[in-house]
């Protein structure tokens, strides 16, 4: 097993941990804003690390550029999504915490 393989495994494992944290956060966090935070940040960091592992494993520059493009579009989509969902949650008057005031 070469150094590149070890780096790929480390990146893959870290990325999967962030994916798991995002899923767990969406399931367990108490209010809409913190769930949105878990969804848009942890998940996309996980995707970035997994994409890095895939690009390193593939070992081709053209493919790495395409994978980087996938991640770039995912981050842009996450930005748009979080703005729209947070606005909608505010319009709906969702409480910021089960026993807190209205936002």
């Amino acid at each position: 097993m070469s150094w590149i393989d070890l780096a790929v495994l480390a990146l893959l494992g870290t990325g999967l941990a962030f994916y798991g944290a995002g899923s767990l956060g969406l399931l367990r966090f108490p209010d809409t804003a913190s769930r949105l935070h878990a969804l848009t940040k942890a998940d996309n960091l996980g995707l970035g690390l997994v994409a890095l592992a895939a690009a390193l494993h593939w070992g081709s520059l053209a493919v790495a550029a395409k994978i980087a493009l996938v991640w770039l579009f995912a981050v842009i989509a996450a930005g748009i999504t979080s703005q729209l969902l947070a606005r909608q949650a505010r319009l709906d008057g969702t409480r910021s915490h089960p026993d807190g005031d209205r936002p």
Partner: protein
């Protein structure tokens, strides 16, 4: 090495399945859309990982299309759910 990537795809699918619990519990439509969005990100990850496992560039094209369309569902939801002229800070 390819086996690890396939294993990663299985883990990603499990993680998406866990997150779909939020889609079931709600409580609001925003939460359900969030769960759908997380399923989208998870499936993009699955496409990238399976593409790396099989060295199949077509999977990357699928992932690219997935990311390009990821924001469309949320945009449609926000446009249909908000009433015309709605602003978070009153009129403006």
């Amino acid at each position: 090495m390819a086996d690890w990537f396939t294993l990663a795809a299985v883990f990603l699918l499990l993680s998406v399945a866990v997150a779909l619990g939020r889609c079931w519990r709600g409580p609001g439509p925003v939460e359900r859309i969030m769960a759908a969005q997380l399923a989208g990100t998870g499936v993009i990850g699955v496409a990238v990982v399976l593409g790396a496992a099989r060295r199949d560039a077509a999977m990357l094209d699928a992932a690219l299309i997935g990311t390009l369309l990821a924001a469309v569902a949320v945009t449609a939801f926000a446009r249909s759910a908000a009433k015309p002229g709605d602003r978070p800070e009153g009129r403006g």
